[in-house]
Amino acid sequence: MQMAKFVWSHKLVSISIAILVLVVSSAIFLSLLAPFDPYAINVKMANMPPGTPSVDGSGTHWLGTDALGRDLLSRIMLGSRVSLSVGVVSVILSGTLGTFIGLIAGYYRGVIDTVMMRIVDLQMSIPSLLAALLVLYVLGPSFMNVVLVLAITRWMIYARVTRGLTLSLREELFIESARALGSSDKRIMIRHLIPNLAAPILVLATLDLAIVMLTEASLSFLGLGIQPPNTSWGLMISEGREYLRSSWWLVAMPGFAILFTTLSVNIIATWFRAKTVKSNAQRVTIPKVASK
């Protein structure tokens, strides 16, 4: 009953959650959910349009087939594995690193802060896709390298936001209370600062997840990301490009997958942010009573 109410009042958010659940579960339970074997090649069935029945009549290629006659839907489900795991792992890495650095800089200020923020500024001035391209060109493309490169090009955002939040949080009276009780710096950071930073950082991470997934798609599209026979949505678009005129679905379907997934992630992040801002606003502060 309560769920029905939530769905009704948050239609867009509910649809987004449903899409994400679908994407995530197809990545995890690929072998159970995929209608066909994503690696099964059948050259006779190459580049069939969406809705073509399969050769043995056991099913339908709802999204068509690719140049090697593999079922496109199953391929997209396979691609979601890489796209999601690259995104999630690199967001966790960059988020942890950036939050840690921002926390230290904002809490201790002084020289540490100046040095760290200079590095952030420096790296912010280099477009992250360009940096990723260069590094991957030198290191060579592989799953791990893509993850690391994406993490290293994105940590500054977390560092900057965390530092800003920490600078204002550290002046709060409850932090001073903790110090008055005898808390160590470590305790203050773990028990008070991080829990208060969690919500905004989580929102940031969700928004960043969408960006990272797009970047991975671009890298794979350019041939510097995931390598065949493994696949990701970006790589699928790249491979389908050759047949764009005759078989539009090869590009369009993985494109939709990227679009809807990142859009859903964005919508959920925005909703979550609005929700946390509201609960913070309820913290009204009574103005000081001035004496006459």
Binding site: A180, L181, H192, S279, S291
Partner: protein, 280 residues
């Protein structure tokens, strides 16, 4: 009698860039006073007179520009990490603002238990819980509030949480920084009675900060009057009320509302009698 707290020539300047010509403004300008074991000393002054800054310097939450703070004979400002930690078990503070002084992401039980956990990290969960509940009952909070977040509480309840948090570590000295300034009059009385009770039952020494004399009247036996960073006058309650020396104290007396006309008359009579006595 040995003072539990001895403040000597305390100065705090908040320097800001530029404007060096006029000298740095002093939030606290060379103050000295003592607090004796088991007493309640009132520190009264208008907004901006430096009361909170004094409290922060005493607890070494702020580093004073110069001066000395001794707690039970040892210099607070020269303590090492461990000494400072055990000092913070002995001297506690209830902050002015009951809203921003509680971590919004922590449950009330954890807030009150934090100090106990810091000073006794090996305590078992059950024991900790028992001690916290004992504190909650002591200050008049319901034990079933244990798992609630601070935003679910009113200002008066929050101030009780702040008091419970400070008392949980069993301090010898409690600094109360205008703990009732933002509360309703009836709630003010409740909190003041609570502090009076704690003082009697636990033998607590209290430094009570307020911006008017009415608040400290019942709780504090001695009163220090502060104005623009200086202590203008310090003395027994009766002396401050009946025979204020400094014009600033007199102006503070003038704005004390008299809730009880009978005691007001009694005071007038008393004052006249004492004047008669002074005359030969």
């Amino acid at each position: 009698m040995q003072p539990i707290l001895d403040v000597e020539n305390l100065v705090k300047e908040f320097p800001f860039k530029g404007d060096k010509k006029n000298g740095v403004p002093r939030a606290i300008d060379d103050i000295s006073f003592q607090v004796f074991e088991g007493e309640a000393l009132g520190l009264v002054g208008e907004s901006g007179s430096g009361k909170s800054t004094t409290a922060r310097c005493i607890l070494h939450l702020l580093k004073p520009t110069s001066g000395k703070v001794s707690f039970q004979g040892s210099n607070v400002l020269e303590m090492n990490k461990n000494e400072l930690k055990s000092f913070r078990k002995d001297a506690q503070i209830v902050f002015q603002d009951p809203y921003s002084s509680l971590d919004p992401r922590m449950k009330v039980g954890d807030i009150i238990g934090e100090g106990i956990e810091i000073h006794n990290p090996k305590i078992s969960k059950q024991e900790l819980r028992n001690e916290v509940i004992e504190m909650m009952e002591l200050v008049g909070l319901r034990p079933d509030h244990f798992n609630r977040y601070p935003r679910a509480f009113s200002g008066g309840e929050r101030q009780r949480i702040g008091i419970a948090r400070a008392l949980a570590v069993k301090p010898k000295l409690l600094i109360c920084d205008e703990p009732v300034a933002s509360l309703d009059v009836s709630i003010q009385a409740q909190i003041l009675n609570l502090l009076q009770k704690m003082k009697e039952e636990l033998g607590l020494t209290i430094l009570f900060i307020a911006h008017d004399l009415a608040t400290v009247r019942h709780l504090c036996t001695r009163i220090a009057v502060m104005e623009s960073g200086k202590i203008r006058e310090i003395g027994d309650r009766s002396q401050i009320y009946e025979n204020p020396q400094h014009p600033y104290t007199q102006s503070l007396i003038a704005i004390v509302p008299e809730p009880d006309p009978i005691s007001e008359r009694a005071r007038l009579v008393e004052r006249k009698l004492s004047k008669l006595k002074e005359q030969p």
